[in-house]
């Protein structure tokens, strides 16, 4: 998969003659790249885990600052947990990656942080819940094939969230184009708050609920475990999340790099004025960017709901911030970077969640701090992100 911002991509977009070449270009290559990223992220986290485990296991002459009980051999613990940790990290990492794409695409085109994207994501999770509930009420949930249920949920979420994102852009961002940078950002914060309570009010009226538990336990398929080795197992939900995320990433790659509209979006993200001189409808491209970003956010919401199985209208804030961190980590405005960032961040989160319980002085309460710490560190030492290129700010 290639970045949207590179000028050489436009020329590289040549006609693909044969089907085999097409498959290679738009299916195998991106999948290979995703796998590479998974290996990079997984490898670095495993290394980190082993080093931390080794350091903690070593006897530092009785110094017991972290108050780890002496009988626990952390090195062994880390080794035993590593496979599940990696699986967990990949799952949540793909969810972050798909959300981060929404941030990064909008940033690429409008140079603006779409703060409301986290609520679009939350809306997707709620739509998924609604679809599940409706199917259950129609007594179709257990009779329909589970995969079809997931597809239905994702498609509905994509439609609703894409539409909402476009409406939000029209109402709250479009009138502010060209205003100072902070003005649309504040408007986006307003949209985020508005959407949170709008969904809350809607669900309060609709079902009189605040907590929305996904009905995954009604379908045995979701909880069936696949055992890879002793102690290393996962559910079909995890597989569904990973596979659908990969499909979406590959689809987005095709859309951005191989279609005419994708070319238009890339052109707008490079230079709006010139793109409009070349006959590209800039407004239309921005609308499509929001549509695609919103749809991806909605789909990610469903995947997140399937993973956590309980959502509320306030569920968007923290994953949204983490996904934004992922986008910054990979280099904001860069689609490939968003994927790498998402995976790395997911791995880091899994790593901390697995390790923190061993430190009674800290505990799981701190697991959300790391994302903000990563964000601050990245912005300090490499503001352009891992895959971003240095861009001089225009004076």
């Amino acid at each position: 998969m290639t970045a949207i911002l590179r000028p050489e991509d436009i020329t590289a977009n040549k006609l693909i003659s044969s089907a085999a070449e097409w498959t290679l270009q738009y299916v195998l290559k991106p999948i290979g790249q995703i796998l590479l990223f998974v290996f990079i992220a997984g490898g670095s986290i495993s290394l980190l885990a082993l080093v931390v485990g080794f350091v903690l296991q070593t006897d530092w002459h009785g110094i017991d600052i972290l108050r780890v009980p002496a009988r626990i051999n952390l090195f062994e613990q880390v080794l035993r947990q590593l496979p599940n940790m990696l699986l967990d990290g990949i799952t949540i990492g793909f969810v972050y990656a798909v959300i981060a794409l929404g941030y990064t695409m909008v940033y690429g085109v409008l140079k603006f942080i779409n703060f409301a994207h986290s609520e679009i994501f939350m809306l997707g999770a709620v739509v998924g819940y609604e679809v599940m509930m409706r199917l259950n009420e129609a007594e179709l949930l257990s009779s329909l094939p589970p995969l079809l249920v997931v597809v239905l949920m994702i498609v509905m979420a994509m439609v609703v969230c894409g539409g909402t994102a476009v409406i939000v852009e029209r109402v709250a961002y479009k009138p502010l184009r060209g205003a100072p940078r902070l003005v649309p950002l504040i408007s986006a914060i307003g949209v985020s708050f508005f959407l949170t309570d709008f969904v809350r009010a809607f669900q309060a009226l609709n079902r009189n609920v605040f907590n929305m538990p996904y009905l995954t336990d009604r379908v045995p398929f979701f909880n069936e475990r696949i055992v890879f080795a002793q102690g290393v197992s996962t559910t079909y939900t995890t597989v569904i999340i990973i596979v659908s995320a990969i499909i979406m990433l590959v689809g987005l790659n095709y859309f951005v790099n191989a279609t005419k509209i994708g070319k238009g979006i890339r052109a707008v993200s490079q230079d709006q004025a010139t793109a409009s001189l070349m006959g590209i409808n800039v407004n239309q491209m921005i609308t499509i960017t929001f549509l695609v970003g919103g749809a991806l956010g909605g789909a990610a919401g469903v995947l997140f709901g399937l993973k956590t199985t309980n959502i509320t209208p306030y569920v968007g804030f923290i994953p949204g911030l983490k996904a934004f961190t992922a986008a910054v980590l990979g280099g904001i405005g860069n689609i490939t970077g968003a994927m790498l960032g998402g995976l790395l961040l997911g791995m880091l989160e899994a790593f901390f969640s697995a390790l923190l319980p061993y430190f009674p002085a800290l505990g799981l309460g701190y697991s959300d701090i790391f994302a903000f710490a990563v964000l601050i560190l990245v912005l300090l030492f490499r503001p352009t992100g891992l895959l971003g290129k240095k861009v001089d700010e225009k004076v």
């Binding site: 942080i113 902070l182 950002l185 307003g190 009189n208 800290l362 799981l364 300090l380």
Partner: protein, 487 residues
């Protein structure tokens, strides 16, 4: 003011003085009518929540209305002082909720002025401002509440008299935290800075909700913040005995005895204290805005590169803005925790930062009067209007009231839609609408206004302003000269 011919000059002076008296009469009448109506409100009234929202809002806005009237400055100050120092405490004796509300408004106004320095003057969007407030609040809380290990084990409880010292320590500590945060992140561009400050605010919140032996597990012996349960029993500074006696005799003398004179004295004390702090903060911010520092901030806000080229020390100035804004919040945090006697992490969530930001935006970025007006509007909306709206709906539901004209029985209004619980909805909408229709706020800052206008308009305005400040006697005195100059 028109220049009249010398023939009827005497008459014109009389007329103008009569006209000058109009705003004074209007102002006094407005305040008195609103005050008397508020005094005569009865809680038993079915429409009490609505009446009290409207009347108290009108009362809170009365200083702004008087300030906008064309009457001499001294008279304006006297009138506003009467409202603040006489009428408001009397209302407080009648219903201490009003006093609480106005104290909240003043606290938020002072914080909004602090945030205004960062966002309005220097143009750095800070989405984690409430973190500095938390620093101040927890500072006083940790040293006086005995729910944590520091006080319980070491017995290092701060004496209540140290409150005054701790206001300054809170300022310094918050400013230090601001510098600590600002130093690494101030290189970042505006929107990145916003997200990083947001993350910082969340880090502080997570820290205070976890620095305990409760949330994680009991094996941790050190409990600093008592976790999500918060720190109870925070003390207030001691007041001299005569203050209590004075307040008690005053309330009895006015025929408005209060249930708990001691608590009421403290309420009055905090009311006065936050008013004083708010005034100091406003004055300080106004002086800063007009100082070389303020101009440097404006330069940074408008064009960082150009400001740097002109020799403005960017990092130093940005840090100064961050530290000053933070110190105001720190001081208010100490006062707030003492007044509230309880702090918990819930009070320092992201929505609180947005709440203060909404105040700044509604009032007008960079405008100090705007910040105070914004604090009044937003706080009243949040703590009075929305709550009373809910109460009103419940009261009407109880008597099965039907909305006239549209024939809507109020009991059909869904229970889930209680306005008081949807403050995010209201503030989100408020932010969007303000950004679209009036990004400069209700009372835009003068300098910003000047920046946004063309030169001719300013010069015209200046002429008009000069003309307005001329008094009639000046004009009369100047008349012979003008006559001479005429060809």
């Amino acid at each position: 003011m028109r220049v009249f011919s010398s023939k009827n000059s005497n008459q014109s002076v009389q007329m103008s003085s009569w006209r000058d008296a109009l705003p004074v009469i209007f102002g006094i009448a407005y305040v008195l009518i609103v005050f008397l109506l508020l005094r005569n409100l009865s809680r038993a009234d079915l429409w009490f929540p609505t009446y009290s929202s409207i009347l108290f809002s009108l009362f809170v806005f009365s200083p702004f209305i008087i300030f906008a009237l064309k009457i001499p400055l001294e008279l304006r100050i006297v009138l506003i002082a009467i409202i603040g120092l006489v009428l408001m405490p009397i209302l407080g004796m009648q219903d201490s909720f009003y006093l609480e509300l106005i104290t909240q408004i003043a606290i938020f106004a002072a914080m909004a002025i602090g945030l205004n320095i960062v966002v309005g003057f220097a143009g750095l969007l800070n989405l984690g401002y409430v973190a500095f407030f938390a620093v101040g609040a927890y500072l006083w809380g940790i040293f006086t509440s005995n729910a944590n290990t520091i006080v319980r084990v070491t017995g290092a409880q701060a004496a209540p008299e140290l409150f005054w010292l701790f206001i300054f320590i809170g300022m310094i500590l918050a400013a230090f935290t601001g510098i600590l945060l600002g130093f690494p992140v101030l290189r970042l561009r505006g929107d990145y800075l916003a997200i990083v400050t947001l993350g910082f605010g969340e880090i502080i919140r997570i820290l205070v909700s976890n620095l305990s032996n409760i949330s994680s597990n009991r094996r941790n012996p050190i409990n600093i913040t008592n976790g999500a349960q918060g720190l109870p029993g925070i003390v207030s500074p001691p007041l001299p005995d005569f203050a209590f006696q004075l307040v008690e005799s005053l309330t009895n003398g006015l025929g408005l005895p209060v249930n708990n004179p001691r608590a009421f004295t403290y309420q009055l004390f905090y009311y006065g204290l936050v008013l004083v702090v708010c005034a100091i903060v406003a004055l300080l911010a106004a002086r800063l805005d007009n100082s070389p520092i303020g101009r440097a901030w404006t330069a940074i806000r408008e064009d960082e590169v150009a400001a740097q080229a002109m020799g403005v020390p960017i990092v130093k100035m940005k840090l100064l803005a961050f530290a000053l804004g933070a110190s105001f919040a720190g001081a208010m945090g100490v006062i707030w925790s003492a007044r509230n006697t309880f702090v918990s992490p819930e009070s320092f969530s992201f929505i609180q930062s947005i709440f203060i930001l909404a105040i700044v935006i509604v009032g007008g970025m960079g405008s100090i009067r705007g910040a105070i007006l914004g604090a009044a509007i937003v706080t009243l909306l949040n703590l009075l209007v929305l709550k009373n709206f809910s109460l009103q709906i419940n009261a009407l539901r109880n008597i099965d009231w039907v909305v006239p004209i549209i024939d809507f029985p109020i009991r059909n209004w869904p229970q889930q839609l209680e306005p008081a619980r949807y403050e995010r909805f209201v503030f989100g909408l408020l932010l969007i609408l303000m950004m679209i229709f009036r990004p400069s706020g209700i009372l835009p800052a003068k300098r910003r206004q000047m920046e946004l206008q063309r030169e001719e308009e300013i010069s015209e305005q200046e002429i008009a302003a000069d003309a307005a400040t001329l008094k009639p006697e000046d004009l009369l005195g100047a008349q012979p000269q003008q006559a001479k100059e005429k060809p």
